[in-house]
């Protein structure tokens, strides 16, 4: 599948969405010369959930990390192409990667709360970014409410260690931590892969709730999850974008044969 064909697979209906909040154009990423993402062009629309699916090692995480410059920390990584966020090229020389990460939140595959209290986990990000101390209690409470965790910890558990929470609660704490920064765009890399079905469905419910105010990109291995929660789906294989379109279309009437085979579970 070459690249222009991949572009043709982008469904025509997307134009109804207006300008994308993030636009990746012709993105190439390689690790020490080994290509991981190959010429991906992909729009991310505001207040929508976009899922990125594809077989293991196809470059989903790599692509996602390039959206908030988390790849910068990996030794030997090189990148070409443009990623425009609200019209600004994230890789322009005058763009500070720290500022990029302040504005674009990220939730990781394994819950990674700081070994501190629940309160501090949420308050730390805003605090280092100059958020006023008086409003902090409200901000923490709001963030926990948005992440549907407040009810479970409001009874005096705020000062407990975050490590005492269950895995699912920890992951919602990490979501709350990202929300406290009031990002417009949140990147999630398989946020449910280490969670049980109940915690997973709680987080999926949460995603529906969050999409009213945030834009979400989620990498997932779970076809049902992608079909359930996302508005748009991007299918990657060997670093190439094979198909991108509305989720309903990608799952029911995929343009590409590989996509069809993948979403119906015949490989991957």
């Amino acid at each position: 599948m070459n690249q222009s064909a991949a572009r043709q697979n982008i469904s025509p209906k997307e134009s109804a969405e207006g300008d994308p909040i993030l636009q990746a154009s012709n993105v190439y990423i390689s690790y020490s010369g080994k290509p991981a993402v190959v010429g991906v062009t992909l729009p991310i629309y505001k207040n929508r959930i976009t899922s990125i699916i594809g077989p293991s090692g196809c470059g989903k995480s790599t692509l996602l990390r390039s959206f908030n410059r988390m790849n910068d920390f990996i030794h030997g990584v090189s990148m070409e192409g443009k990623i425009l966020y609200l019209g600004v090229d994230l890789y322009a020389a005058d763009v500070d990667p720290v500022a990029v990460r302040r504005n674009i939140g990220m939730v990781f595959q394994k819950p990674n709360p700081f070994p501190k209290s629940i309160f501090q986990n949420i308050a730390w990000g805003p605090a280092i970014n100059g958020y006023k101390k008086d409003d902090m209690n409200r901000l923490v409470e709001d963030s926990l409410k948005k992440a549907a965790l407040w009810d479970e910890i409001k009874d005096g558990r705020l000062t407990d260690s975050a490590l005492a929470l269950s895995g699912g609660q920890q992951q919602r704490l990490c979501i709350a931590r990202a929300l406290a920064m009031e990002p417009q765009l949140i990147l999630m890399d398989e946020p449910c892969s280490s969670l049980d079905p109940v915690s997973t469905s709680r987080i999926e419910d949460l995603l529906f709730e969050l999409k009213k105010r945030y834009t979400i990109v989620i990498v997932t291995h779970n076809m049902q999850q992608a079909a359930r929660v996302s508005d748009y789906t991007a299918f990657l294989e060997n670093g190439k974008l094979i198909e991108f379109g509305e989720t309903s279309q990608v799952f029911t009437r995929p343009v590409n044969k590989r996509t069809e085979e993948y979403v119906t579970g015949r490989f991957g």
Partner: protein, 287 residues
């Protein structure tokens, strides 16, 4: 099912190994206890306020350890003040900032080698650089700088290892919130690495307390009848004083040496206790 056949033999082996380990551990502890008991028996009746508060003397009854004790306190204090910031900062730089290239590996191997260099070599180095070249004479500062060189590799290696043990997922979480590298190190990496760093510091400073050869080399005095009042004063230290007493022919001075060893051990234990308390606080905070 094949396994059941040799299960009793494997059990026996496990049991024997268990006994062997227990025996070896016991032997180590037993020797230590015998040694300590011997020293205690020899020296404990010499250790009193007069002993701690008197300068050395030709007369056993009047002799005390004041100058050596204060010399050691000065020496360790200055050494800590010099080597801890430098060592921890070097470890942070190498783990968190420097690019993990060939140069970094080269430096790492060199530091590991430096940790194995005999202490007398550091003494010669200290004599050439600090005493002669920097003109610091036989001061406690020259001694501390020399000791700092000696223990820096230990501090750097231990600090690096505990910094490296901090899971990278914590760093990533911090960076993803728009933290700078320094904010990440300050708020997450250092607190998480602190228990391990402290263990390294205890080991390093304990070594500094016990070292004699480099001090002899840079010319710490054997007979000092005053307490250092500044970093430029000359000094003696507990191990030197102990050696001095132990090498005299009179039996009574040998007992004084044992008393000196008890004081040295007490200082060591006190330092370790403080470090352990700080470490436990840090660990409790992490949970």
């Amino acid at each position: 099912m094949n396994e059941v056949g040799n299960l009793p033999r494997r059990r026996l082996k496990a049991k024997l190994f268990h006994l062997f380990c227990a025996f070896v551990t016991f032997m180590g502890v037993a020797f230590l206890v015998i040694l300590l008991f011997h020293i205690w028996k020899e020296g404990h009746h010499w250790v009193d306020w007069q002993f701690l508060n008197s300068f050395p003397s030709r007369f056993v009854e009047k002799a005390g350890i004041k100058s050596a004790l204060w010399g050691t306190i000065w020496l360790v204090g200055l050494t800590a003040a010099i080597s801890i910031p430098v060592g921890v900062a070097a470890a942070i730089y190498m783990e968190e900032y420097a690019s993990k290239g060939k140069l970094n590996t080269f430096i790492e191997i060199n530091i590991q080698n430096l940790a194995g260099v005999p202490s007398i070599v550091y003494g010669i180095l200290g004599l050439a650089i600090f005493v002669r070249w920097f003109n610091l004479e036989r001061s406690v500062l020259a001694g501390s700088l020399t000791m700092s060189l000696l223990i820096l590799p230990i501090i750097i290696i231990a600090s690096r290892e505990s910094i490296r043990a901090v899971p990278s997922s914590i760093r990533q979480g911090s960076f993803a919130l728009g933290a700078t590298r320094w904010q990440t190190v300050r708020a997450h990496v250092l607190p998480a690495a602190l228990p391990g760093i402290l263990t390294g510091l205890i080991l390093a400073l304990s070594r500094a307390i016990g070292e004699t050869a480099p001090l002899v080399m840079i010319g710490a005095l054997a007979y000092v009848a005053f307490v250092p009042e500044g970093p430029m004063d000359s000094f003696t230290a507990l191990p030197i004083q102990i050696f001095n007493w132990a090498s005299r022919p009179q039996e009574k001075f040998h007992q004084l040496a044992a008393g000196g060893i008890l004081v040295l051990l007490a200082v060591l234990l006190m330092m370790n206790a403080i470090a352990i308390i700080i470490r436990q606080r840090a660990e409790r905070k992490m949970k």
